[in-house]
């Protein structure tokens, strides 16, 4: 049995009267790629954002690498966050810094490593995502696909145990989606633990070790990609697939 890296137990989240997550349970093992799919407003992004407490859960707990957390006031919250990288739909690069500075800031301030080492790491991951020549460029001068690749490199520079992807290709022009997905595929092949919320079913099939179908605030169906796409068990899943495929 592989290491349990992320364990979500009975997770609830409400926005006022609206209950978005209704008691989700989920375990992600080391090296596993979990893909979360589901209709808009189903709570899949909220679920992902709860994992590193960008969203404050209303109930339940999340255990990351043995540390059990129930809210963002936990004293070790920053230590947990640095181990769990996040890639956002809208990239969220820091516009006032060059690409290199974007990559070096957190390793230096959070990990406390020196400038030289941070730069070396940054350049290494930048060439990994194929953008070594853009080190001294400001984010606004990059295409969407390039920005997202920089955002992935920025998360990697912290050497996280796991990466969360929140619809990483949804804000991209169609011709740029593949360059980002290719980077993600490479990471998956190298054994990175990943939780990916996406609408890219091709990616889910090809890369996912496990696919979760989330609807109505809970996991309706889960299994390996072939199982779930070819033989959906629930009516909801069938309805969802018929709409997108």
């Amino acid at each position: 049995m592989k290491n349990e890296m992320i364990k979500i137990e009975n997770l609830h989240k409400s926005f006022g009267q609206l209950e978005v997550l209704k008691g989700v349970n989920l375990t992600v093992s080391e090296g596993e790629v979990v893909v979360i799919i589901g209709p808009s407003g189903s709570g899949k992004s909220t679920l992902l954002r709860c994992i590193n407490f960008l969203e404050e859960p209303t109930g339940g707990s999340i255990t990351i690498n043995g540390e059990k957390i129930t809210n963002s006031q936990h004293p070790k919250i920053n230590e947990i966050r640095r181990e769990v990288g996040m890639v956002f739909q809208k990239f969220n690069l820091f516009p006032h810094m060059t690409v290199l500075q974007n990559l070096m800031l957190a390793p230096m301030k959070v990990r406390g490593i020196n400038e030289e080492e941070a730069k070396e790491t940054a350049l290494k991951y930048l060439s990994k995502v194929g953008l070594a020549e853009k080190a001294n460029v400001y984010p606004e001068n990059l295409s969407g696909g390039q920005q997202q690749r920089v955002a992935i490199a920025r998360a990697l520079c912290m050497k996280p145990m796991a990466l969360l992807f929140d619809e990483p290709t949804s804000a991209l022009d169609p011709e740029m989606i593949n360059e980002v997905l290719d980077v993600m595929k490479n990471l998956a092949n190298e054994g990175m633990t990943m939780v990916v919320v996406t609408h890219e079913m091709g990616f889910a099939k090809e890369v996912g070790d496990r696919v979760l179908f989330v609807d109505g605030g809970n996991i309706q169906e889960e299994g390996n990609p072939n199982e779930i796409f070819d033989h959906p068990k629930t009516e909801r899943m069938r309805a969802f697939l018929s709409k997108i495929l």
Partner: protein
Amino acid sequence: MDFDLITHSIPLLIQGTGVTLEITAVAVFIGMCIGCLMGIMRICNWKILRIIANVYIDCIRGTPLLVQIFIVYFALPAIIGARIEKFPAAVIACSINSGAYVAEIFRAGIQSIDAGQMEAGRSLGLTWWQTMRFIVLPQAFKRVIPPLGNEFIAMLKDSSLVSVIGFEELTRTGQLIISRTYASLEIWTCVALIYLFMVLVVARFVAKLEKRFETK
């Protein structure tokens, strides 16, 4: 118009102008320090700090600067049991006043930065304060330059109110000259033109500053 009188008064008025600039610069500078602190406090996670900032901003913006000047110069000594000189009193009143307006400028500037920036910083393991300092504030500073320029201009003119405690800045200097010469028309016109000139220069400077930060 008595042009001779104007020429004779100019050196004194220029001296007063210098004092006006001095008190405005010091007040806005201290006001910016207070305002930055209070602006951040207003949106931080600590409820007690938020309350302090809210009370400060409400009280200062809810009362006239003129009354605040009276309180600092006449009422405060009664409490602390010592006289306050005119210059410190004027600076204290103007700084505290300016701080409340600057706090709101900073708060709006910080809140205008996309929430995704804070999330990205936190997701990398930076603390709230580190994210504020390295990511949010540098972006917010650029956006608050125009409203800070307005605040400077407003303070330049409002500083004339400290003439009521006899502090000799530009307006008070004008008053004193008139009390000797009765040349209201000449002197008030001069005083008004000097204020106008200063404001126009500051406005041009702020516009330049804004442009410089824009291109980067």
